[in-house]
Symmetry: C2
Subunit: 457 residues, 2 copies
Amino acid sequence: MRAAHSTDGYFDAHRERILEDWFELLRMPTVGADKGRAAECARCAAWLKRWVRSLGFEVEVCRTSGHPVLLAERPGRPGSPTVLFYGHYDVQPADPVEEWHSPPFEPVLRGDRVYARGAQDNKGQLLAALLGMRACIEAGLPLPGLRLLIEGEEESGSRGLAGALPGLRRRLQADVLMVCDTALHPSGRPAITAGLRGLAYVTVTVHGPDHDLHSGTHGGVAPNPAVGLARLVASLHDADGNVAVAGFCDRLSPPSAQEIELCRAEPFDAEAYQRATGVAPEGGARGVPVPERAGFRPTIEVNGLRSGYAGAGLKTIIPASALAKISLRLCPEQDPDECLDALLAHLRERCPAGLRLEFQDRHAGGAGFRLPVDSPLSRLAADVLTGLDGRGPAFVWEGASIPVVGALRAATGAAPLLVGFGCEADRIHAPDESFSLAQFDLALAYSARMLSALAGG
Amino acid sequence: MRAAHSTDGYFDAHRERILEDWFELLRMPTVGADKGRAAECARCAAWLKRWVRSLGFEVEVCRTSGHPVLLAERPGRPGSPTVLFYGHYDVQPADPVEEWHSPPFEPVLRGDRVYARGAQDNKGQLLAALLGMRACIEAGLPLPGLRLLIEGEEESGSRGLAGALPGLRRRLQADVLMVCDTALHPSGRPAITAGLRGLAYVTVTVHGPDHDLHSGTHGGVAPNPAVGLARLVASLHDADGNVAVAGFCDRLSPPSAQEIELCRAEPFDAEAYQRATGVAPEGGARGVPVPERAGFRPTIEVNGLRSGYAGAGLKTIIPASALAKISLRLCPEQDPDECLDALLAHLRERCPAGLRLEFQDRHAGGAGFRLPVDSPLSRLAADVLTGLDGRGPAFVWEGASIPVVGALRAATGAAPLLVGFGCEADRIHAPDESFSLAQFDLALAYSARMLSALAGG
């Protein structure tokens, strides 16, 4: 049973208008990684500018080296802290488009869920948080000082924002850095994210012959880039699923006893995991409990492979090249650049005879972090979340990364507070991404309650 | 200096008309593996029917389960042997089309070379051989009894012909099975192909989650199909490049001393290989000379890989599945079906925990073979080739496969004679396939001379 709050019922009372805004936001195909979508990203930033201005914010859309960043400010109750709210309007690519049951940029409500690319990540959660602010304003509740920072390249490395950050530093100073881009605990309880992994990535291409060769004439003669790439990828992990790259794990320090205790507080439900994903949680280091594997261990994953001919029928070739897109998730102690160096050195050392390596898209996306679980901010958030769900929050160490959070913490001095309302069924980054109205409503209510609590309301 | 023959100069004398026919043949995009090209294949068979009929053949276009087969017959000089000439009008897919310097089905002559898919393999060599017959007929030279068998699925497994073969058996009986689908020796000398490898293939898909997963949340938790596939592919060879599949190589018997001697007669030019292909001949079993690796050793090659997102930018996912197209080239002693069984068992045993394997397109394409190097037919062919090139022919054991040759030999009792005029620069199966006018002329001259020699002329 929820504790009462004067913004309760806001979503239901304004459902039609909210869905209209949400759908309009989702219709803009703001795939930040796609340079061809620059106009859509600019349009989306302008749309958000109008929307946010209507709440009494002073707003500016700032140019960056990439897609624009929206910066907004609204004074709060005197004496209250300043909250920097961070979100992003860019979305992941929609491929494979043919696997969507409705077009990714034509949002539809089916049952309790809105389906579209970005329905949850992050347009849905972002809009819900902004609506929490509107709910407070319309209810006449005090708010803390608010600064908004909404960027357009989170899914592709936040490069534009990173470049602009030094110049924006002064305007972003805050006490709390509020981010609504994470998930509920798998049990459905609210969750405070106490850790995120760092991110880095690189595209590895193995070059062989200068054109595809006949696999008969040349089979067993020319080195095969697809086989060479497979051997390189296979060398990244040992037989027990541990990362086997020299120097990669040197800096790792184990979680504290309190972290392990909180991490194990809620038992991991392997069957529920399999129902939600279609696969047993059998990846990564053998013998390590799942939440600790995701929260406290690094991983090297292949996001995609491409080589030769993989269409219908047969094409008996030795391909000219083979490509793997590789991403790393790193523990806070690991330096993304050092890890990339270790990975590339590992691959170079093992490059099969006759083949040649090329690295592209190298990006050290930012370090991971762990937050104190017993700070006043954590305790206030836990109270607010207990008011929304009597079970109170779980503390989770997520395997995912929001690299910009580390950079913003460093630039602004603000204490991060990561509470989000996603769940596995949302299928973010995949076909048929969605967000339920119930999750949206919860995100809205949390935003309203947390902000009024921070304003001392 | 060539020995004289009354068909000498035929190509030069009819160059314009010949190029017109050749280009017309190449303009038909007869990609046999592509079911959407059935009409083009039928059109090509009809075109060949008209062309061959004009030489006095009785011709029939036979339906098969796939693309039609052209069957033709022409009586020869009384007492002469019967030659079954085999060729194919289908071609490999043209992908990647964007790498062609001119459209694959719009033949052009640049310098001495005709560029188009099929320019060499096999439309070019086929037409040259047919023109050799026309040259003899127009010069009034005697010919042996001729049977033509021209199919449309050589590049995709000859399934239609294989199904039709039992019914055509009687009409295909012959003394010699002449095939013009092979290559010159890398030194440029003519070559008699004394062996071909068998072929088999299969598409392997590794299934993981039922949709792409976020590589952060799930990295190190969900098993990654792309990594799993890489580990499976890497397990197919040992560190020295030998096939490491149990049971795969059990039946191998080494080449005879005479075979090794002939195989080593012409030194292998590794630098020329690298110039032609862009890669050093560093594939396959370490320490085995290149011609023996291709001629007397089996190989497992990956023709293509596909998994997850491999486009521009970044998509941080654990892909739902990963696919490899795998082809085998086999020694005569190896049974393609047994080898596929061994491969699939090997993969099944090693399938990483949580992942699931699926096999598609399984096809045992036919065994390889080795021919006697000192038969009367080999000696006659060697004489004819010495007449064309004073260096005489090299005997080669090619790594490629023409699976149908084994089947035709079994069905007809004919002795195979494989002499072809391809070379590495032709880039068959790859973008910018071409065939030079000089090679075409040589193929034509060989056909004319060999056939008149067989007719006792």
